[in-house]
Symmetry: C2
Amino acid sequence: MGGRTVAFTDPPSVIGSACIVGEKEGAGPLGKSFDRIVRDPFLGEKSWEKAESRLVEQTLRLALDKAEMTPSDVEYVFAGDLLSQCIGSTFGLRDSGIPVFGLFGACSTMAESLSLAAAMIDGGFAGCTAAVTSSHFCSAERQFRFPLEYGGQRTSTSQWTVTGAGAAILSARGEGPYVTHFTAGKIVDAGVKDANNMGAAMAPAAYDTLTAHFEDTHLQPSDYDLIVTGDLGSVGAGILVDLFQQDGVQLGPCYNDCGLMIFSEEQDVHAGGSGCGCSAAVLCGYLLNGMRSGRWHRILFAGTGALLSTVSSQQGESIPCVCCAAAISDAR
Amino acid sequence: MGGRTVAFTDPPSVIGSACIVGEKEGAGPLGKSFDRIVRDPFLGEKSWEKAESRLVEQTLRLALDKAEMTPSDVEYVFAGDLLSQCIGSTFGLRDSGIPVFGLFGACSTMAESLSLAAAMIDGGFAGCTAAVTSSHFCSAERQFRFPLEYGGQRTSTSQWTVTGAGAAILSARGEGPYVTHFTAGKIVDAGVKDANNMGAAMAPAAYDTLTAHFEDTHLQPSDYDLIVTGDLGSVGAGILVDLFQQDGVQLGPCYNDCGLMIFSEEQDVHAGGSGCGCSAAVLCGYLLNGMRSGRWHRILFAGTGALLSTVSSQQGESIPCVCCAAAISDAR
């Protein structure tokens, strides 16, 4: 359809999805939408990284159960996470026996994996694929910021990495919800260097991809029941609304952000939730459930990722960001 | 075509490819096949990571020039590298303006990116895509092993990370070589824990994917002029040949490994070359040039990746591996 948006000819169906989160996420406003809330942040493992892999493994298995599929039914899985060399995913999928395409899109990974998993089906290359991603507060904190024991003060713009995973099973057949479009993201670097303000860094990437999506599809925000970014938090979401307002476009009451939805203000997470697992768990529970129940008919799910590393930050670099958007509808 | 192999209906053409390497690689047996040999390992930058990003940027630009295309002609680029959070790719592509899908497949990334870039075209989603990856000896050493200044002794099974990048431009139109098939890889973990013997860790993954490829396609090794892994090195390549021999299958004289091709024995790299840039630079120069000149008609290019991180190794984990294979032919 031109630009960087693909409209699928025969939109693949999400035939099952699952999300597993930690205790803090379970205590938030979306608590009832999660399939499982784990009380032990280690999930019985000896490290947080192994715990994150266990999250991936359990979430994918649960999604398969809900789709009434087995791992051998899945032709390709698209997966990635925040950890260096994506060990959350690779160790989590190690025993699955499913052919894998590893991804890195930071917190945009759920949208990226969903888009590619859908493309493999609509392209005629597979009948069943999966998309899965994860994050873990403890593995992310010690990798990107400080040891938890250090008890560092968090800035007001910082976001809280969600402990959680989401998995979606896609099929050429099924009764929806359907992935109808994706819009791929260019790398956008607005010059933000503060790794504790990733919302501000990511908002211009979200603006870029969403603008491209509306241009390519000739749709406007009001054509969607819900436009949801994941995860800009309060700072980034405000900037995104402002950027559209400058164009005379109102994102309006149908706009929300997974990072704002998953925690309440009382939970003291500052600017909101983040991490690959945030938008993944919100999509694979609350959002897809809401589509199945008829609450929403058309959703635009825009995953946003900050493509920094500790090394790039230490070298004084700004934060390149990306946003990948997938449109999901209850009708083909 | 069943299994985990896709046979493209209308195989996309590689309309341009380029490779840029460091001085040591340029002094090796394939020296004349590289487009550019950089004498300065920093490429004028202040860090090795920034130098690697510069390699990505320059190599993609050169491939576009050779294909007589501009960045705006490329609808999607598939890219990844070995650095944590793939900063080689994300910073290297930051100014390109090309919509990007970030990948992580460790040293299998060139095969993974080529497969997905081809799938996007054959699926009808794009007319022109790109695949690019990189590695840098200095950025990889300090990330995965020791500071260079430490002067650590390398074991006999260790491989030398190539400083180099490769980029391929694919199009729905063109005169070849054509990407005709891909076979995706399952994660295979043979229990090897020695991060200095990645050839032994990766060989079972290569065996798994190549076996699946031959089963799915009903082809046999002798149907290819060249079967090339990247990069098992001498230890892993020997194991792969043995594994096939146990099945009564001779990989034969048409089998080689990019890690063995890029350096000579006199260059003292122990078990051979490695790194995403190794198979990328060998494919995008020597191999594709050889197909264009008629030396080879059908190549099976099998990228192998060791999906470990320093954290997983420190936690006593074994090394999960993956192999993604792409078949390339001079005829559709």
